[in-house]
Every structure is written in structure tokens, then in C-alpha cells.
């Protein structure tokens, strides 16, 4: 009995439970055929969701109104710039990645500049900067599709016993970020700002510096995702970031992080990312199209937020 109540107090467990349920439903539909492959593919794609969602989660945790809408554009710009500079050369992989990170840093500084110096609300600031970033990507790339270095392509698609290496790496990163969030001054400050920004400032916390770091970090995660995704899919495409805006918000929210800020959960990101991808797989197996997928994603986000918001207000 106690186990059950503990379970219900941990909303992020729902994400894992839902992911497993959807996987079993898919496996049952195909009578167990390819269930292992489905899981392996799910881990591959969930990895990309998780990378951007970690950054988005830190931003969302900063409190109401904080969200980064420039993630898709940042992914596209970092992907195109790094692929073009690497020009398919294996020895350029590391410099290429550093360039992607640099793109992320520039975007993050641009966002914070708009938010802090010009005092534009984050949603509008990141929305307008995303148009500038996306235009930069179009201008830089001019429709060319440069192939990634072969070693990068091999690395992003490699698997050990069915488990993608990239997924293992991102699980490790997620674990590190979990510690950063819960056991470092930086992480605790992010949570404190989200719960009460004024109180955090009065308590002497470095609110502005932490906000700055968080937006830059989010952009760097988005840029890294653009880099590995471009490596994975054989080159950068101008629309490669498109579905990651809704996905990043969805993964954060379904994973049990509060949209109002101040409460976040990293393990839930993995549960939610797997759930979203397995849901798509299930709908595809059942023969339903893109329309139903978008519809369900939207409905699930709204449902989760409405339920989460309702339960918190009743607790107080």
C-alpha cells in the first residue's frame, strides 16, 4: 500500500509506466515481432529529444515565462555550420564540435542580451532571435547538404548489443546533470529562482549570472543536438529542428517538471522521450497518420499540465 502511494507521489514514474505500456501494446499488436528493435530505435531517437530537453528543463525551471523557443533554429545553425566547416574530414570532428558549441554560446548570449539588457520577455526574445538564427542558417548553407565525416556518422549510429552508444553517453550526461541540479550551488540556485526569484535575490544568490549560464547552457545543448543529429542523418537540413520545439516542451512537461518553475526532474526526461517516440511507433504500427500523432501529442501535453496544475493547487 505504501509503495502505491509513493508511486503516485512521483509523477515522473508515470512517464516510464506509460512508455512501457505503449511498448507492450505495440509488441502485442505485432505479436512480439521486432519488439527488441523497436526499443533499440526508440533509444536512438529519444536520445536527441533528451539532449535538447535537458537544456529546456533548466530554462523552464527558472520560473514562469522562461522557455527557449530558439532551440530548433539553434540546432539547424549549429548543424549546418559545423557540417560545412568539417567538410567530411575525420580529423575535423573535434574542431567541428567546438564550432557547434561556439554557435550555441553565441545564440545563448544573444538570447540573454535580449532578455536582460532590453528586458524583452523570454518567449518573445527567443522567438525573434530564432528568426534571425534560422535566417543565418539559410544564408550560410544556401541549400547545400554537406555529408558528415564518416567517423562521426559511424559513432552516432553505432550500437553495443542493440543499445546505441550515443544513448549510453546521454544517459551518463543526464546522470551528471542530475547531480548538477540537485547537489551543486548552481543547480540549487536555479531551483530557488524558480520557486521565488525575489527571495533568491534577497538571499544573496547570483540570480543574473545563473540565468545567463542557464540560457547559454540550453543553447549549447541544442547546438550539440544539432551536431550529432546532422551526423546521424547524413547531413544538416534546414528543417531538421522543426519538431524539436514542441518535443522539447512536451518531454520536459511529461517528465514531471513543473511549467511554473522550481520543480524539475531529470530521470523523467528519459521516460517522457521514450514514451513520445514509442507512442509514434505504436500509432504508425496501427496505421494512423501524422495528423493523429500531432493531435495526441498536443492533447497529452495539455492533459498532463492540467492534471499536474490541479493536484499542486489542491495540495496547498
Amino acid at each position: 500500500m505504501k509503495a502505491i502511494t509513493t508511486f503516485f507521489r512521483q509523477p515522473w514514474l508515470f512517464a516510464f509506466a506509460a512508455a512501457i505500456a505503449v511498448w507492450i501494446a505495440t509488441a502485442a499488436f505485432t505479436q512480439g515481432q521486432g519488439a527488441g528493435e523497436v526499443l533499440s530505435v526508440a533509444f536512438t531517437f529519444a536520445t536527441f529529444f533528451v539532449i535538447v530537453a535537458i537544456g529546456q528543463m533548466f530554462v523552464v525551471t527558472l520560473g514562469p515565462g522562461n522557455v527557449d523557443l530558439s532551440i530548433p533554429a539553434t540546432m539547424t545553425l549549429a548543424g549546418t555550420v559545423s557540417m560545412k566547416i568539417m567538410d567530411g574530414l575525420n580529423w575535423m570532428i573535434l574542431p567541428g564540435y567546438l564550432i557547434a558549441v561556439a554557435v550555441g554560446v553565441v545564440v545563448g548570449v544573444l538570447n540573454v542580451g535580449l532578455i536582460r539588457v532590453l528586458r524583452i520577455p523570454p518567449i518573445i526574445a527567443t522567438l525573434s532571435s530564432s528568426f534571425i538564427i534560422q535566417s543565418a542558417a539559410i544564408w550560410y548553407n544556401r541549400g547545400l547538404r554537406v555529408k558528415p565525416p564518416t567517423m562521426l556518422a559511424d559513432f552516432t549510429t553505432a550500437k553495443i548489443a542493440g543499445m546505441p552508444i550515443l544513448a549510453l553517453l546521454v544517459i551518463l550526461i543526464a546522470a551528471v546533470m542530475h547531480v548538477v541540479l540537485n547537489r551543486t550551488i548552481y543547480g540549487r540556485t536555479v531551483i530557488a529562482i524558480g520557486q521565488n526569484a525575489r527571495a533568491a535575490r534577497l538571499a544573496g544568490l547570483e540570480v543574473n549570472r545563473v540565468r545567463f549560464l542557464t540560457y547559454v547552457m540550453c543553447a549549447v545543448f541544442a547546438a550539440s543536438c544539432g551536431y550529432v543529429l546532422a551526423g546521424f542523418s547524413g547531413g544538416a537540413a534546414l528543417n531538421m529542428g522543426q519538431e524539436y520545439l514542441l518535443a522539447s516542451v512536451a518531454v520536459v512537461v511529461i517528465g514531471g517538471t513543473s511549467v511554473a518553475g522550481g520543480f524539475s526532474n531529470i530521470p523523467g526526461l528519459w521516460g517522457a522521450a521514450l514514451f513520445l517516440f514509442l507512442l509514434v511507433t505504436m500509432l504508425n504500427t496501427f496505421g494512423l497518420g501524422a495528423g493523429v500523432r500531432l493531435l495526441l501529442t498536443g492533447l497529452i501535453i495539455i492533459a498532463v499540465i492540467t492534471l499536474a496544475g490541479g493536484s499542486r493547487s489542491s495540495e496547498r
Binding site: I124, G289, V292, L294, L296, I301, I305
Partner: protein, 328 residues
């Protein structure tokens, strides 16, 4: 001289200056810009953005915003076109019946999006950002599902001829709709009790609740008005395109928010004027038209839009500061 300029800037805002600058620059850049034909064209093209921006203004006035206006356009267009072509198929002789039933169906479908947003924001207290983002995914999903991704044909010829391309006394028909809606919205916002409530709720939600305003009701109505206005624009756009499409209006959320902000609507709610929003929308379409005539590439055009948006926000801040200094 400098003082007079400052006074004008504080009273009317940055928009008239931007409009003037755009007119001068584009007249110099292209011979075809400052012609009656082109300017009529600009006004006709801007009808859709003007109407959507009016709706968006309501959402911004109450301190929220509506990211689902693009989806509302899509749903309206798809449902309206499907209904119209079905009715037209059943009763081919009665084109006007099909047009009326189809338009009502489309606008009702669009308004439903507003009801959904309203329930989420007003009743459950979900943040407008997440609610309208989620709903825009749901709505776009429905639109894709209904059409299977292909445009809807088969509407009566009359519909496009009258509401898309028709003219009355030399003025395109859509402009009459826009003018009528501008007047209606202006009357609602400035001369009705409900209209003032939008400002009150956006200015200070708590104070308005304590003064006895039904804040939740006002918020609920806000999103329905926004969606209904957008839906009307959606039907007009469908008439212009002669097809129902799921992917119209993708750029509408940003453009309508930009039009409002350039028109001086505050993102924090409670501040904004109808006539300036109309000018803001006109300005955006004017700049797009001018850039097309000057053969500026499309990726640069989005940079310009983003830049103008940021510029408008900065100008607004300077204006507030100057206002304070002039009062001293």
C-alpha cells in the same frame, strides 16, 4: 525643434516614424512602389493580418498571447472548404446556401479552438503559452487528418469570385470586411464595459478580481474573440486561395504578435490601441511588399521582421522613459 520631435514621439510612438521611413526608402528603391495600384495591393494583402492582429490584441491586452492563430486559420479553412464543397455537391444550384453553411461551419470550427484555449487558460489556469502551443498541435493534427495533407477543392466559383477577388465600387471586398471588423472591435474595446475589463484584467488581475470583475469570464471571452476574428480572416483567405489548406497561416502567430507590439501593445498586458495595431499590421505588409519589390531575398526578410520587432520594443522603453522626463 528637438523638443517638439520628442513630444511628437512620446504622443504617437515610433510607428509613424517607421512608416515614413519605410515609404521613403522603398520609394527610392523601386519605381513601382509608390503607385496607386501597388498601395491598393498592400492594403488588400494586409486585410488578413489586420484581422488576425485585432484578435491577437485581445489576448495580449489580458497579458497572454495566442500561438494557435495559425492553427485556427488552418482549421477554419479546411472545415469551411470541406463543408462548402459537400453542400455544393449535394445542391449544385444553390451556391449561396453552400457559401453560407460553409462559412458558418468554418468560423464555428475556428471558434471552437478559442473555446478550448479559453477553458485551459481561464478555468484550469494553464499558462497561455503552453495551452495555445498544445492546442495548435492538436488543431493542426485535426486539419491534417481531415485533409490527408492535400488541398480541398470543389467550392462554388462564386465564393472566390466575391469574397476573394470581388470589388465593390472599385474597392476589393475583403477590405470592407476588415473596415467593418476594425470599427466593431474599436467600439467594443473603447465603448463597452467588457472592453474596459480587458484592460483591467491585463493591467492588474488581482485588483480587477477584487473590484468585482469576473476575471475568468473575461479571459475565457478573450480567447473566443481572438479565435473568431482569426476564423473570419481564415474564411476570407480560403476564398482568396480558392482551396482549403492545412498549412496556411504558419507565419501568422509571429506576424500578428509583431504587428501588435510594433503597434505599441504591451507584452505585459493592459496597454494597446486598436488604430495602432491596424497601422502595425499595415506596416508589416508594407515592408514585406517593399522588400519584394526591391528584390530582397526571403531569408533577409525574416531577419528584418525580427529586427523591427526588437527595435519596436526598445523604442517603447525609450518612450516610457521620455514620458517620465517630460512630466517633470
Amino acid at each position: 525643434m528637438a523638443h517638439t520631435l520628442k513630444r511628437i514621439f512620446v504622443t504617437v510612438g515610433v510607428l509613424p516614424f517607421l512608416l515614413l521611413a519605410a515609404l521613403v526608402i522603398f520609394t527610392l528603391a523601386s519605381d513601382n512602389f509608390l503607385t496607386v495600384q501597388n498601395l491598393t495591393n498592400v492594403v488588400r494583402q494586409s486585410v488578413y493580418l489586420v484581422i488576425v492582429s485585432l484578435g491577437q490584441m485581445f489576448a495580449l491586452l489580458t497579458g497572454g498571447f495566442d500561438l494557435s492563430v495559425g492553427t485556427t486559420l488552418a482549421i477554419t479553412s479546411v472545415v469551411g472548404a470541406l463543408t462548402m464543397s459537400t453542400v455544393a455537391g449535394m445542391a449544385p444550384d444553390m451556391a449561396w446556401l453552400a457559401i453560407v453553411v460553409g462559412s458558418i461551419g468554418g468560423i464555428a470550427a475556428g471558434a471552437t479552438i478559442g473555446v478550448a484555449n479559453g477553458i485551459g487558460v481561464a478555468v484550469f489556469g494553464v499558462s497561455p503559452f503552453i495551452m495555445t502551443l498544445g492546442i495548435s498541435s492538436v488543431g493542426f493534427g485535426i486539419a491534417l487528418y481531415l485533409t490527408g495533407g492535400t488541398p480541398v477543392y470543389g467550392m462554388p466559383q462564386t465564393f472566390g469570385d466575391v469574397f476573394g477577388f470581388g470589388t465593390l465600387w472599385g474597392v476589393p471586398v475583403p477590405i470592407y470586411f476588415a473596415v467593418l471588423l476594425i470599427i466593431v472591435v474599436w467600439l467594443i474595446v473603447n465603448w463597452t464595459r467588457l472592453g474596459r475589463y480587458f484592460y483591467a484584467v491585463g493591467g492588474n488581475t488581482k485588483a480587477s478580481t477584487l473590484s468585482g470583475i469576473n476575471t475568468k469570464g473575461v479571459l475565457f471571452v478573450t480567447y473566443i474573440i481572438c479565435a473568431t476574428l482569426t476564423a473570419i480572416a481564415g474564411m476570407l483567405l480560403t476564398a482568396r486561395l480558392d482551396t482549403g489548406e492545412a498549412n496556411i497561416g504558419a507565419s501568422m502567430p509571429l506576424e500578428s504578435i509583431a504587428a501588435c507590439i510594433i503597434g505599441g501593445v504591451s507584452l505585459r498586458g493592459g496597454v494597446g490601441r486598436v488604430e495602432n495595431v491596424v497601422l502595425g499590421a499595415l506596416f508589416i505588409v508594407l515592408v514585406q511588399n517593399g522588400m519584394n519589390l526591391a528584390r530582397i531575398e526571403s531569408y533577409l526578410q525574416t531577419v528584418v521582421l525580427g529586427g523591427l520587432l526588437i527595435l519596436a520594443v526598445i523604442a517603447d522603453r525609450i518612450r516610457i522613459r521620455m514620458m517620465a522626463s517630460l512630466q517633470d
